[in-house]
């Protein structure tokens, strides 16, 4: 009996081995290596790699550009994530609502999800030419008499930030909506029926039945979006010159990291320092999300219910 049990145990190790090995190799080692590199002045085009202590981090904080990048990243992420979650939630509630019975849910879902399938490079190129000085937006607006002279949108900080926020929202709200719909449709119908029989209104059903039951999914969405948002790269990188132009308005953490890596000597030490900062920042906020949305079931309440 005992022998059989140990055999089973070993078998389990074999099953989890691929993940553990993959994680150690592609998850933990890169993090360790990034951390180690961030304390050196390693560059790719010279053969130097000396330990420089916290120099890279000191430089990072003495230099306004990094703070600009961090603020930009947070602003760009929050400005697209809040409406993204709101709209996705609204759509998910509508499409899973038994009373509304919206037709063609599958088609709508496909339409909302479609932008997510497009290549960021193509989207960035599309919006760049739409809004360029000689582009169609200016042509339509001027010929339609909306304004009299072409506007250089590409050089306008607010317009470019707005575009990044819009594109990110547009690409990702469908994804969020689908995850939320999946979570909502897995909630047992009898709970809704019971709530309705008890006289709950739509908002009350949402607040007291739907919300608590989709909390695990909410945590998942918040954390994955946070990770994605902190690493926002492709759209702001491709939309203008790849340096966060105009005037650093769409410079994000990862663009700055890549710029250092791409600088003429390839300063991977200095760019690792940014990577480490992104990692620390993301981890703290992710843990905060877990903490705030943890299961709050104090014993006192339970006892009262009983």
């Amino acid at each position: 009996m005992l022998r059989k049990k140990t055999f089973k145990l070993n078998y389990g190790y074999v099953f989890i081995a691929p993940f553990v090995i993959g994680f150690l190799l592609f998850g933990l080692y890169p993090v360790y290596n990034t951390l180690a590199l961030s304390f050196t002045n390693t560059t790719m085009l010279t053969r130097k790699d000396d330990f420089v202590g916290l120099d890279n981090f000191i430089r990072l904080f003495s230099d306004k550009t990094f703070l600009t990048a961090v603020t930009n990243t947070w602003e760009l992420w929050l400005m697209n994530f809040i409406p993204q979650l709101g709209i996705a939630m609204l759509l998910a509630v509508w499409f899973t609502n038994v009373r509304l019975k919206i037709k063609g849910v599958g088609i709508w879902r496909l339409l909302f999800f479609m932008p997510n399938l497009l290549m960021p490079a193509a989207i960035a190129a599309l919006y760049f030419s739409l809004f360029s000085y000689y582009g169609p937006v200016n042509q339509l607006m001027v010929r339609g008499g909306v304004y009299s002279e072409a506007i250089d949108f590409i050089r306008n900080k607010e317009v470019m930030r707005g575009l990044v926020v819009f594109i990110q929202w547009w690409m990702w709200f469908g994804w969020t909506a689908i995850i939320l719909m999946a979570a909502m449709s897995s909630i047992s119908l009898s709970l809704y029926e019971a709530a309705v029989i008890d006289g709950a209104r739509d908002f009350q059903v949402f607040r007291y039945v739907t919300m608590p039951l989709i909390k695990p999914v909410m945590i998942y969405i918040l954390v994955t979006s946070l990770v994605g948002g902190m690493q926002m790269f492709d759209i702001p990188y491709l939309l203008t010159d790849g340096r966060g132009s105009p005037a650093n308005s769409i410079l994000t953490n990862t663009i700055m990291m890549y710029m250092r890596f791409r600088s003429n000597e390839g300063h991977i030490g200095a760019s690792s320092a940014i990577g480490v900062m992104i990692f620390i920042m993301t981890s703290i906020v992710a843990l905060l999300i877990f903490f705030l949305l943890r299961d709050k079931e104090p014993k006192a309440v339970k006892e009262k219910e009983i």
């Binding site: 590199l37 000085y133 340096r243 650093n248 993301t282």
Partner: protein
């Protein structure tokens, strides 16, 4: 059970976080990337010495095949990685110091100097004998030299010139003769005065230049000081003049506000540029180098619907200042174990009279290459007209271009003769590895300044911040 599963989900999410955050910052994924590129290179043939050549265009493949024709025992494995968004540079950097390092690399003007200044290219100074024999234009080997050590050569020289529309020149200045127009546009003050005339006589419907960015190269090429002097970031008066001129062009409406390499810039080449309200606009001049003629101007001289065609309406003059733009150099990697063969390849590509002649005169047709290697891709060939780095060979070739397709595009002008006159005036001694990044960092603050959204001082501050961000060791005041 519930607690256990939530612990697990935390772990899994944490693992995803780790994996997602860590990866981009390390060189591991980048180092693996070239392997994924392998299908782009042909498989090495058995029993032959393999020479690994990396480039960012298909141009050198033509010469690689020709080289195989001369050396049947050599198999050149050619890897092409496009330069879009710095892909080539990133992948090349990632191979440095690893066994994957290629034997021969092509280096573009934007980054040739940083490799030349580094410790990764082999010393090719002994090939200078051949370069002197062929009278290579000095800026070509100066660009690839560091402290007198030559580490790369180029088959081409890429001096720049000023292209103008003959019909518009006649309209505004009464002549389209290149010598007369050169007198009118011979220096920057004259160029500015002419811009005024063009604007006035056309009623603002013809712009002197499509984009102010077009003449940046001219100012950069004529500086008296490099960007970095004794480790300190320095601004040369020419750079200040460049910004002042750009501002003047923007504020006076001498430039069409197009962006280089974008729709409006190309539309000006075939005369189909229209402003947002639909009014047709013309561009009088374009600053382009040697390769700009066959690769940029000629292919865009006809509008997509064929309604407008500027073929035959162009002429080339030296313009206000001598400059050069772009170009491809070839060098040998120090870590390559095939030094002699790699050197032989560089010599063939850049310093072989026969190869240079064939290259510039259109001998390397697709059929020619297919005869050597049947696996050559369809369309791989080199048309006549690329301007080569050797003065001796270039001078021999001049008469061939008196009457060619390209000279009829230029209204009968022999463009080759123009390039020969332009090339010796170019100076590359101030060229530094950090130039490209420093100049790029200036583009964005400068356009914000031209736009009027920031002040002159704020522009310099933004630029210094950007440069500091990329160059940790530079002294910036």
């Amino acid at each position: 059970m519930k607690r256990l599963s939530s612990v697990f989900s935390v772990l899994i999410v944490a693992a995803m976080l780790l994996a997602a955050c860590g990866a981009p910052a390390t060189e591991a994924p980048a180092a693996e990337a070239p392997a994924a590129e392998a299908p782009a290179a042909e498989a090495p043939a058995a029993g032959k010495t393999v020479l690994d050549v990396w480039s960012f265009t298909n141009e050198i493949l033509t010469m690689a095949v020709a080289f195989e024709g001369k050396h049947p025992d050599v198999d050149v494995v050619y890897t092409m990685i496009p330069m879009t968004n710095g892909e080539y540079q990133t992948k090349l950097m990632a191979t440095l110091g690893t066994p994957d390092v290629p034997d021969v690399v092509a280096l573009e003007a934007a980054f040739v100097k940083q490799y030349v200044e580094s410790d990764f290219l082999a010393d090719l100074t002994d090939l200078m004998t051949y370069a002197n024999e062929l009278k290579m234009f000095p800026f070509v080997y100066e660009t690839a030299s560091d402290d007198g050590v030559v580490k790369g050569y180029s088959y081409q020289a890429t001096p720049g010139g000023l292209f103008y529309r003959r019909s518009l020149a006649k309209e505004y200045f009464g002549t389209d003769d290149p010598a007369a127009i050169q007198d009118i546009l011979g220096d920057m003050d004259k160029y500015i005065a002419a811009a005024e005339v063009v604007k006035e006589k056309s009623g603002g419907n013809t712009f002197m230049v499509a984009s102010g960015g077009d003449f940046h190269n001219l100012f950069y090429a004529n500086r008296a000081n490099p960007w970095v002097v004794d480790g300190k970031l320095t601004v040369d008066p020419q750079v200040e003049a460049m910004i002042a001129t750009s501002k003047l062009f923007r504020d006076s409406g001498f430039e069409a506000r197009a962006t280089q390499w974008q729709e409006g810039w190309f539309a000006g080449m075939n005369g189909t540029l229209t402003d947002a309200a639909g009014n047709p606009k013309q561009i009088f001049t374009y600053f382009l180098p040697t390769w700009g003629l066959p690769y940029v101007l000629a292919p865009n001289a006809k509008s997509a619907d064929g309604s407008s065609d500027t073929t035959g309406d162009w002429a080339l003059i030296p313009g206000p200042m001598a400059y050069q733009w772009g170009g491809t150099w070839v060098g040998v990697m120090k870590d390559s174990d095939k030094q002699d063969l790699a050197k032989e390849f560089v010599k063939f590509v850049a310093l072989d009279e026969e190869n240079l002649t064939n290259w510039a005169t259109g001998v390397y047709t697709n059929d020619f290459l297919k005869a050597i290697d049947p696996a050559v891709p369809e369309g791989q060939s080199q048309a006549a007209g690329d301007f080569i780095g050797s003065q001796v060979v270039a001078e021999k070739l001049v008469p061939l271009f008196d009457d060619s397709a390209m000279s009829s595009f230029m209204g009968g002008q022999n463009f080759y003769k123009q390039w020969i006159a332009a090339a010796p005036r170019v100076n590359a001694r101030l060229f530094q590895g950090s130039d490209d990044a420093i100049q790029r960092a200036l583009n964005d603050p400068m356009s914000s300044y031209l736009e009027g959204t920031i002040t002159y001082d704020e522009m310099w501050q933004l630029w210094k911040d950007a440069v500091r961000n990329e160059f940790p060791d530079l002294i910036i005041e």
